[in-house]
């Protein structure tokens, strides 16, 4: 008796099977940013994926080696450009750690308010766009309106909206303006209601859940081994949050929770981000209601630009202004790693200074770069349309990916 396949005569043996090669990206309307993946497809099922990155590599680490610390801040804007203020403040904190500058409580609280606003903006973009990718355009339009309001707040502080270059080493260039207070109060009063409306549109929506539950899952062990961070790691069930584990900027003063998921799938990532927005709101309310009196910058005249009136009227101030702006101020020698909880997870700055005016070596620990390598594994065996949702829910930002 000859061996007979249980699948009958139509069965194609694996070695005879031919796969389609599909080139997804680098520019594709469904991938938000420049991502290329060469997919091996069996019908609509992904067999393997080969990502190519580096399309917008701008050699930030090399650039930083010729830039004084002030000029590095605009580079950090362009890492995760959906939440530039977190990157900026993370860099300021790194330099402050090297300089051994301690900031007043008011600066810490102001920074916390801004960083949490940035986190809300970043998570809103990610979640709203995930809605779009699964066919829900309405929520997106509402939430982008809210993001605009947050950008208005940045504009009130720093004058810029997307690449903010916010604050300075030591604090801020000026205190919160009355208009900022007004706008922030307006935002805090109106946003929760509109956000919950968005949540009710999407989260328990049957069509949405059918599209995202069990899509692109990753286990907690795998996520840790891949050095996942931020909401993606927490969605897999690991409650690692830099804000709680290594508090910076007085985060220990605030009462908030770390939302975690269980399956690490697209739905969990979405829900973790939704809950983080609620926690961020709680933090902002606490920080704003208890905003301490005091100075809006640290007392470090060698590194903090003098007031403009003084620069015009006093020789010493002019000299210091010139020295700082031209990068004539040397950093102390040392080696420091500082990390903040970016919107995508642990955003680290590894700075080696040889005592010169510029970093000897600056390395960015970019969460997107590190966890994007797990993407081929997460989409293996999934449908093509699920791959799009997985990418969207991982919130891989091309600027942070390629540095």
């Amino acid at each position: 008796m000859t061996e007979q396949s249980i699948f009958g005569e139509d069965f194609v043996k694996p070695e005879e099977k031919q796969y389609n090669t599909l080139n997804l990206g680098p520019t594709h309307p469904a991938t938000h940013g420049v991502f290329q993946n060469i997919l091996q497809m069996d019908g609509e099922i992904i067999i393997s994926a080969e990502p190519t990155i580096g399309y917008i590599h701008r050699a930030f680490e090399k650039l930083a080696e010729r830039r004084p610390f002030y000029q590095v801040t605009p580079i950090t804007d362009r890492l995760n450009y959906c939440s530039s203020p977190i990157n900026n403040i993370g860099w300021h904190l790194t330099v402050e750690k090297l300089l051994n500058v301690s900031t007043p409580k008011r600066v810490d609280y102001m920074r916390v308010i801004i960083m949490e606003l940035a986190r809300i903006a970043d998570h809103l973009v990610c979640n709203a766009v995930l809605g779009v990718d699964s066919g829900a355009l309405t929520g997106f339009t509402y939430m982008f309106q809210e993001r605009e309001r947050i950008y208005d707040l940045y504009e009130e502080i720093a004058g810029a909206r997307l690449t903010t270059n916010i604050g300075r080493v030591g604090g801020f260039e000026r205190d919160f303006t009355p208009r900022f207070h007004e706008k922030l109060k307006e935002f805090l009063a109106g946003f929760p209601k509109r956000f919950e409306e968005f949540d009710s549109l999407i989260t328990r929506n049957r069509i949405f859940m059918d599209r995202v539950v069990n899509v692109g899952p990753i286990s907690a062990e795998k996520a840790l081994s891949y050095s996942f961070a931020g909401p993606n790691l927490r969605a897999a069930g690991v409650d690692y949050d830099v804000r709680v584990m290594n508090p910076y900027c007085s985060y220990q003063d605030f009462d908030f929770m770390i939302p975690v998921g269980t399956h690490g799938d697209t739905f969990d990532r979405f829900v973790v981000r939704q809950n983080e927005i609620r926690e961020s709101l709680k933090i902002i309310n606490q920080a704003y209601n208890n905003l301490p009196e005091g100075n809006f910058h640290a007392d470090c005249p060698e590194f903090y630009l003098p007031k403009k009136e003084d620069v015009y009227n006093s020789m010493e101030a002019l000299i210091w202004h010139f020295k700082i702006v031209m990068g004539e101020v040397d950093l102390p020698a040392g080696e420091v790693y500082h990390s903040v909880e970016g919107a995508n997870g642990e955003l680290g700055y590894y700075l080696i200074s040889d005592g010169g005016r510029t970093p000897y070596r600056l390395h960015f620990r970019r969460p997107s770069f590190i966890y994007y390598q797990a993407y081929p594994e997460m989409i293996k065996g999934q449908m093509l349309s699920d791959a799009i949702l997985t990418l969207s829910s991982m919130n891989v930002i091309a600027g942070e990916l390629d540095a």
Partner: protein, 167 residues
């Protein structure tokens, strides 16, 4: 008992007496310089030992110090024990003429791309890496751009006078 600098250092010195070169503290963080020939064994011990348990590879990068003859390139690991919230920095110095070190990608999966990035920028060849190719720069690039001998700006330019820029 939660980990601290003394425990980590004494355990490592006891286990690898010849491979620990130097240890110092920099901004509250313990730095240990290790023998590059033993880096994989040390990393595996730190990850898998029940007491050490460094389950999270935070970062992997390199630095180029051309003036240190014979050990120009430092491969730097930032590892984190999330249970005890303890961070450690390991450094292994290797010569620029023969920049080879064992891979960590079999210990932490996440080391894969971090090592590719380090190879791309510094030319460090990670022995045993499954797929050591350039990742950020173009494939036909012939140099390793983060080495210090490659200046950021074209030195033949005459329209910029470095004196005016404090360089």
């Amino acid at each position: 008992m939660a980990l601290n600098n003394d425990i980590v250092l004494s355990r490592l010195q006891e286990k690898f007496p010849d491979a620990i070169r130097e240890a110092y503290i920099n901004f509250d963080q313990l730095n240990i310089e290790i023998d590059p020939a033993h880096n994989a064994a040390i990393l595996r011990f730190l990850k898998e030992d029940e007491e050490m348990n460094f389950n999270y590879l935070t970062d992997l990068t390199a630095v180029h110090m051309p003036e240190q003859t014979g050990k120009e390139i430092g491969v730097i690991y930032h590892i984190h024990n999330l249970y005890d919230n303890y961070r450690l920095r390991l450094k292994a110095w290797i010569p620029e003429s023969e920049p080879v070190i064992a891979t960590a990608s079999s210990i932490w999966l996440g080391a894969n791309w971090m090592e590719r990035e380090t190879y791309d920028n510094f030319g460090v060849r990670f022995d045993g890496h499954p797929d050591l190719r350039r990742i950020l720069n173009v494939d036909h690039m012939e140099i390793f751009p983060l080495l210090k001998q490659y200046p950021l700006e074209d030195s033949s330019r005459e329209d910029k006078d470095d004196r005016f820029f404090g360089r």
